[in-house]
Every structure is written in C-alpha cells, then in structure tokens.
C-alpha cells in the first residue's frame, strides 16, 4: 500500500498535490468571502471564470491520457465535452419547465418549433441523477463503440486524427439542425436553477466552482492512478512500440478502447460542470477548432505529464481571457505563435522547461549517470512517471 502510494507520487509530489488541492478548493472560496477592499479578495465575477478554466483543465488532463500517454492524437475530444454539456443542459431545461418565456411545460425552443410533445430521448432528464448517469454513459458508449471499430481496424496516427475531426464536425452539423431536438443553432440556454438553487446567486456559483475544483482534483488523482499502474506502463508501451506490445501478449485494442472511453467520460464530466457556469451550450462547442485548441493546451503544457496539460489549459485560457479583451484581434496570432514556438523549441512543453531548469540546479554528476530508483520525487524526464521499485 505504502509502496503504491509512493509510486503514485513521491513525498514532495504528495505535498505539492495537497497544497494545490487546498488552494483550489479552500483558499479561493475563502478569498472570495473577504470584503472587496482586501487586496487579495477574489471578486464574484471571477469565480465562474475560474470554474470554467478548471473544467478546461480537466479536459486537458483527459486528453493527455490518450495523446500524451497512449499516443492517440484525438482532434474531436471537444465533442465529448459538448455531449456532457448537453446532458446537463437538458436537465437544466427540464427543471425550469413552466418558467420559460412561453410558460410551457416544454423547453422554449420546442414551443417555438410548434412541437406538442417531448421527444422520447428527453424523458427522464428532469431527474438529476438520471441526467448525470446519461451524460456520462452516452459519451462513454459512443466513445467505446467508435474506439472499438477504429482501433480494431488499426486506424492510427494522422488518419485517426482526421476521423475524430470529421466525427466532431458531423456531430456539430447534426446538433445545428432544429429537428435533432437540442435547440439547433441556439442550443440550450436561459437556465434558471440547479438542484433547487438559483444559478444567478453568488453562492451557487461558488458551489459550482468548488464542485469543479473537487472534480479536477479527483480527475487528476484517477488519471495519475491509471498512469502509475501497470496499465499506464502498457499504454506508454503501446505509444512507443505497439506491435511489440502485441507480441508481448497484450490485446492493445482493449487497452486503447479503455483509455479512450475513460478520457471521453472525463471530458463529458468537465462539460457538465462547465455548462451551468457559462449558462449556455450550443453546437459551436463542437466546432473542430475547439478540439484543436485543446491539443494546443496539452502540447504547450507538456505531453505525458498530466500536470503540464493542466497548466497549459490554465495559462492559455488566462491569456485568452485577457488578450481577447485587451487586443481582440491579436489572440489567434498569439495562440498560433505560442504553438509554433513550443513545437520548435520546447518539445516537452512548459513543464519540460521547468523540470529541466530544476534538474540543472540539483543534479550532481553521480545522479546524472544513474537515475534515483524507487521512492524518487524526480519525475522521469519525459513521462513524469516514477519507476517501479524492484
């Protein structure tokens, strides 16, 4: 048990994780409760913004699982995020039945389309737990089925990326149609309350932020558990030498389907937490550029490290929020420029830069020749994993 915990993270890693989790879950809410006159007080308007960033961070970690560790570059992951968001949106729409503009029992857009009854797939979504189950299961099953066929046919590399890109594009076109029954172009919006609480009240917003922070920490812990297990080592083996992994007796298709499905469900969870905080979900969330941006967060942060993609998502979205307000036309150039620079000069991303800097400071010649074994706190240079203790 102890050994496994130390494999999960070295002592210092656990400490950093605990501090970071406490900062996100406790310190930010405390700072938010301070009067605005305090210098470090977090104003109310920042809370949903931070919550949104944390959801992006979850998505980046989930993406790292498939891209960084297993070598599957998905350019359609935003679709799973959006599906999770739609699931939550459906619940929110059903809970405000009778409170819409038309005071109808049906969501406003259905009244507008002159629909008389609820489509069959909307039934049950007034129940929160049913909605949660569905918003995880539907993307999960979709990912498993897609993954099974794609990986069994040994579609990989750029071909798989193109197929996933096409998948999210097709889903976007489908959701754009009014007849699909998800509000078409406008999507689902004008939500009123969640679990009986008003979505406008600061306390609900704070609760949603805390829920996102807890979900982020749990997502990280789950993914870290996966990548430090033998399963994680098999995934990396698949990334580096898939054929060899098969000749070692591993059915790599099963491994890929597993990690692909897990990643999709985590994205869906992130999407479900995202929607009540931004107040809208529409098909533009499925546009291909969103998935590409996700890949950029992961690449900039540092693939195969979990923490790197999280940092990448937070940094780039922070920069985006600032720059799109300050210099609206510059953002895409900045994003493209960062991506090019990172690809050229920082193959291991921002995190690789940080660990390399720390290494230079602390490494002695002796350590340089023989990496420390066992309860090492120093992550391995490129994968951030701790070697198994013999």
């Amino acid at each position: 048990m102890r050994e496994r915990l130390l494999q999960f993270h070295g002592r210092r890693g656990w400490l950093i994780l605990a501090v970071a989790a406490a900062a996100l879950i406790i310190v930010v809410p405390v700072l938010n409760s301070l009067p605005r006159s305090f210098p470090l007080a977090v104003p109310d308007y920042l809370i949903p913004l931070l919550g949104k960033f944390l959801c992006y961070g979850m998505m980046a970690i989930a993406m790292d699982l498939v891209w960084g560790y297993t070598g599957i570059l998905s350019l359609g992951h935003a679709m799973f995020f959006a599906l999770g968001g739609y699931g939550m949106g459906m619940y929110l729409m059903r809970r405000m039945a009778g409170e819409g503009v038309y005071r109808s029992n049906l969501p406003d857009f259905m009244v507008f389309l002159d629909w008389k009854t609820l489509p069959w797939y909307w039934h049950g979504f007034q129940n929160f737990w049913f909605a949660v189950a569905m918003l995880l299961l539907v993307p999960g099953v979709l990912a498993a089925v897609f993954g099974w066929f794609a990986f069994r046919s040994r579609i990989k590399g750029v071909y798989l990326s193109i197929v996933t890109q096409a998948l999210t594009f097709a889903a976007m076109l489908l959701f754009f149609q009014n007849a699909t029954g998800f509000g078409g172009n406008n999507g689902l919006t004008d939500f009123k309350h969640l679990l009986g609480r008003s979505l406008q009240s600061p306390s609900t917003k704070l609760a949603l932020y805390i829920a996102s922070a807890v979900a982020l920490v749990l997502t990280y812990a789950l993914c870290r558990f996966v990548v430090t297990s033998k399963l994680g080592r098999v995934l990396t083996a698949v990334r580096d030498a898939e054929l060899k992994t098969r000749f070692c007796g591993y059915e790599t298709t099963h491994y890929k389907v597993f990690v692909w499905t897990l990643s999709a469900m985590l994205c869906a969870l992130a999407g479900a937490l995202y929607v009540p905080q931004v107040g809208i979900i529409n098909p533009s969330e499925m546009q291909p550029s969103n998935s590409i941006e996700l890949a950029i967060w992961v690449a900039v942060g540092g693939r195969g490290t979990l923490i790197g993609p999280l940092l990448g998502a937070l940094l780039l979205n922070g920069a985006k929020s600032y720059l799109t307000a300050a210099f609206p036309s510059a953002w895409l150039y900045v994003l493209g420029g960062i991506f090019v620079l990172v690809t050229l000069f920082l193959p291991r991303g921002v995190l690789g830069l940080l660990t390399a800097a720390r290494k230079r400071k602390t490494t002695t010649p002796q350590q340089a020749t023989e990496p420390e074994r066992g309860v090492s706190v120093e992550p391995a240079p490129s994968t951030g994993k701790v070697p198994v203790t013999p």
Binding site: D240, E251, V388
Partner: protein
C-alpha cells in the same frame, strides 16, 4: 496416451515425415503458402520442430525467412496451410498476435525492439507471463514470484546494473539482450529469434551464442541468421530456405557439403 497425443501421432504417421512420430512436436508448420501480389514468399513449406530443439533457418535475402516468422506469430495471414503449437488444438494462423503470444510463442525482431521510455526493469515487467487483461493490469502489483523471475532474467542477460536505465538509452548490444530477456520473462514454449547478432561485436556475439545454447533444451529455439560463423557456432540442425521453399534440412556439417546449398547460398 491422451486423445490429443494419439491424434498427433496418427497425423504424423500419415504425413511425409514419420521420423518424429514418437516424440511430441513443439511447433508444426504444415503446407504454408503465402503470396504477395502473385509472388510466392512461401511455397508449401512444411517444418517440424522437436521440443527443446535449437534450429537455425538460413537462406539468401528474399528466401521467406521473415515471412515464415510473420506467419507463425500471426502478423501475416497465410493463403493456405496451418501452424500448430504442441497439440493440434490451436491453428495459430487463425489467432491474433497477442493470443499467439499468450499461448507461448515469443518473437525477437530483426531490429532490437524494446520500450524506449521504460526502464530495463519495466521492460521485463511488461514482458512477464500472466494475466494481461486491462482491468487486471490496472490493479496488479508485482508478486514476489514475479520479482524473482525478473531478477533471474536480469541476471541471465547480465543487465542487473542497468535495470534503472531507460531502455532507449542502452547500447545496441544491450538492447538485443534486453529483448531476449523480455522473451525469457514471457517464458515461451517456442522462441523465434530474428538475426540476434546483427551489429554485434565479436565478444557480444560469443555471449549471445552461449545464451542461445542455454535457452535451447528448456524450450524450442528458432534462429534466423545471416552470419554463418554464428550459425556454425550454435547450430545443431539447419533448415535452408530458398525462394520460399525448403531447399535442404539437416545437421550443419551435412548442409555445408550440400552442392545445392553451396550454389545458392554458401557459395563464397
């Protein structure tokens, strides 16, 4: 005699090669034919390997050596023919690579293939025989027996001191040994080894020869090799492939005198 063995002996007795009827066969390749765009890479190849045998397969480029390996390990599906392991229960040509590996056939590639981003120790761990299911590996820990197996393997291949090194950073010869070590951890019944000494220095080659000799006996070893000196140093029995057919088969000394073999291959 079990039903399977009876079946086996009966079939052997019916076949053209009756001489091993009393022994249990380790690997059985029967009338294997593979063609790529009309070119017959293997043409009606039949091969019987005894248990514990060390067999070398030689032949000029394009003779079909690698294709034969590919068929046995499931990488290539033959047009016709079958491959059986020990009993006739499983026709390997109908199974996937990983199922074949789980049944006990290990393969070493021509170019050393290890997992570069894993340590030497982790490479051996990944190769270990056992349950390779997804959920099992999520929670599995190395048992005491597993650790002993890995330690023994590292001892055998002489990489104990390098067990914490990333495999991608190993020297070429060490990679070759690590790959052989991974096959040992897999604990296969049949080992297929493609050009084990390519690019090795003389002392490394001698150690490899010694390793091959040690491996045979406990298990069946098939070595495909170009280096004749190495083949001479390990071979007991040699099969010569030429243009997809078996040209000759027998002890090394006999093969070296065979005029047909000399003409196509040993000429120099």
């Amino acid at each position: 005699m079990t039903a399977v063995e009876a079946d086996l002996v009966a079939t052997v007795a019916d076949g053209p090669r009756v001489r091993v009827a009393s022994q249990v066969v380790a690997l059985w390749v029967e009338n294997l034919t593979v063609s790529f765009d009309g070119f017959k890479a293997l043409n009606d190849v039949t091969l019987l390997l005894d248990r514990g045998e060390l067999r070398c397969i030689i032949g000029p480029n394009g003779a079909g050596k690698t294709t034969l390996m590919d068929c046995i390990t499931g990488k290539t599906r033959p047009d016709s023919g079958s491959v059986y392991l020990e009993s006739r229960l499983h026709n390997l040509t109908e199974l996937s690579e990983c199922e074949i590996a789980q049944l006990g056939i290990g393969r070493k590639f021509q170019r050393p293939t290890v997992f570069p981003q894993h340590t030497v120790y982790e490479n051996c761990e990944l190769a270990l025989n056992g349950n390779r299911g997804v959920f099992h590996s999520l929670f599995s820990r190395l048992s005491k027996k597993d650790k002993e197996t890995i330690d023994r393997v590292l001892e055998t291949i002489g990489l104990v001191d390098l067990k914490g090194r990333m495999a991608g950073l190993l020297a070429h010869g060490h990679k070759q040994w690590l790959e052989i070590g991974m096959l040992l951890a897999l604990d296969p019944k049949v080992l297929l080894i493609d050009e084990p000494v390519a690019g090795m220095t003389q002392p490394e080659m001698e150690r490899t020869a010694e390793l091959m000799q040690r491996l045979a006996g406990e298990r069946t070893v098939v070595v495909v090799e170009h280096d004749m000196e190495f083949v001479r140093s390990i071979a007991r029995k040699v099969t010569v492939l030429h243009e997809g057919r078996i040209l000759a088969e027998g002890p090394m000394a006999e093969i070296q005198r065979d005029p047909r073999v000399i003409e196509v291959y040993l000429g120099t």
